[in-house]
Symmetry: C2
Subunit: 363 residues, 2 copies
């Protein structure tokens, strides 16, 4: 047992609740969390197979950020569990919920707790758990339900080969895994597999037998490259902003070449195969999520704010905080200029998956 | 079950790790925590009576602040539990520790987690639990060991009567419970009893039968009034600073009259009676702590910093942040001027108690 961490944490979503915060700029994620309410309900009704539910039901959200989406997800889970045990057990009133909110140590837990505090009355005991979810965070068999929404596409690190100018996997001229460069794609894919395995193996220890793990994450339609999807086009645009700024001498070319997003959007089939291969869990369901978000009202400014909320800390850490405003001003201009071609790819080759895994009874 | 909170939290210890932080200014508390290592060890060896220790041992520190003292205390507890089960059980290696760090929602958990992160390798899984300990924070029977050090002398609020100019308990001309004014002392004492009861009753629900609750807190020698002790003299001095500043027109007289410290130092006998009366716990031990802190090297600046770390947020919240520096500059001057008379009372009529309570098996 060793939960001590020696490596520095990656960058979190933007903290606080100001105009550039994740709190104010996670509408897409929110619409997805809301769209999954009924799916969570069904998962718990049909797939949760706890031998003997004790008086405490422990839930963890992995990659919770600062709210509010994590609170909505948790609320949905608790309502579904209450509904299930209301039907099946007479002693449902004695069931108490403990919810663990996990994110990196440098996540803004103060803001998370402030938001939680304002979010009352609540039906659960709350705790924040700092640290990487690519390792153990909880004692053995201490959780009944795990949840992770829009967190596992973040890699624990950018694969070092893609930044190595001497490697065949050097990702020259790009800041992400476009999909066009096989060696780069393999380096990213390999890091992703490794990260998914460390995540699943740690959760396998922490979840009780019969417990559930719900994962919500983006995936690519099979045969589609990331740069052919809306999100890939967005990353390409961000990369071109950094290139332009390097050409203007605002940032150094070397800094740009040493920057790659630690994000991997897996092809759906590859993800499914990876989940099937893990012996600790059974894949109960993989569904595509249809959200109710109205994309007609989207604006360039809105999408810029959304991207900024999730990449600002990363850019700040690499290039310095003084250039962040300029990056996203330029991004906003470029996005407006290319609006129709980008909107054209939106939602076509890109999807959000709802995955239910159940912890096998045999180890 | 309802852990939602509707009332605002009191003021925490000063956050961060700067020169005025609690992190840098809790040396007295630290010397006490270190002095109790052997007492903790004995308590766990002789008094911890768990029926069947499962694979997880859950510890909570109530009023943890931002470290480092809470880490030292937790380390002592874990080492003692390991020692006990090393001797008694063959399967001690499978015992995993989960530690819950509790403090008010507005405690600086970001700093706590940063300090925790730097404090590796560590032998436990960690979680932060925001919220008042005068109510439930954990599911029933989910903790094996509770710890609270220098937290329970803080009241959940200043009793309203002492600020009410029409009440016989109006505490005119003082900012704390000096002991000279019977009605004031009764109002403070009554609030303290109420707070201790809500604390103990909540912990009684959360601790398993046979689990231990260790409390470290200051108390007065019987027959001594607070203003006759070193800490009372210090509070009187702080009050006189505020009075002087009101006379100079820097702050308003009304503001000073509306300010009383929510701190109560109980007479030792009264505290013992209160603990004996609570039916959920057995009082296993109440000992006076002898610390190794060298008081000869104390300076006025040092004591000023110590007082500032624990009262700054309170003063800021009541009078505004702009006057804080001036208050403690004046305090430092007055303390230097009265140094020998204050040092004379030091450690004479004031003590720190080490209390062990065990959770009764009968409810």
């Amino acid at each position: 047992m060793a939960s001590g961490q020696s490596s520095p944490d990656p960058y979190p979503m933007s903290g606080g609740d100001g105009p550039n915060s994740y709190f104010q700029n996670s509408v897409h994620q929110k619409s997805i969390v809301e769209a999954t309410k009924e799916m969570i309900n069904e998962a718990i009704r049909d797939k949760l197979a706890l031998n003997s539910p004790s008086n405490a039901f422990n839930i963890a959200d992995f990659g919770c950020s600062v709210g509010p989406n994590t609170f909505i997800a948790v609320q949905n889970i608790i309502e579904a569990v209450e509904l299930k045990y209301h039907g099946n057990h007479q002693n449902h009133q004695s069931l108490e919920f403990q919810v663990f909110f996990n994110d990196h140590t440098n996540n803004d837990f103060n803001t998370l707790f402030k938001n939680l505090h304002h979010n009352h009355p609540r039906k659960f005991f709350a705790a924040g758990v700092p640290g990487t979810f690519h390792g153990r965070l909880f004692p053995k068999s201490s959780l009944h339900f795990g949840h992770s929404s829009f967190a596992l596409q973040w890699l624990s690190k950018t694969p070092s080969e893609v930044l190595d100018t001497k490697s065949p996997a050097w990702n020259k001229g790009s800041i992400h895994c476009t999909g066009f460069h096989t060696e780069v794609a393999e380096a990213y894919s390999s890091q992703f597999k490794n990260d998914m395995e460390t995540f699943l193996n740690a959760r396998a220890q922490e979840l009780v037998n019969g417990g559930l793990l719900v994962i919500i994450m983006p995936a690519l339609q099979d045969g589609v490259l990331l740069s052919q999807s809306s999100i890939g086009v967005t990353f390409d645009l961000l990369g071109s902003c950094l290139q332009n700024m390097a050409q203007s001498g605002i940032i150094s070319q070397e800094k740009v070449e040493a920057f790659n997003l630690p994000i991997y959007i897996s092809p759906a089939k590859g993800l499914e195969a990876l989940l099937q291969r893990n012996g600790f869990f059974s894949v109960e369901k993989i569904d595509r999520i249809t959200s109710n978000m109205n994309t007609n009202t989207l604006t360039a400014q809105f999408l810029t704010s959304q991207l900024r909320a999730v990449t600002e800390e990363l850019i700040k850490g690499h290039f310095g905080s003084e250039i962040v405003d300029a990056v996203f001003e330029l991004f906003n201009i470029k996005l407006s200029e290319n609006w129709f071609s980008i909107m054209d790819t939106k939602n076509q080759k890109f999807m959000d998956l709802f995955i239910i895994l159940s912890r096998n009874f045999s180890d």
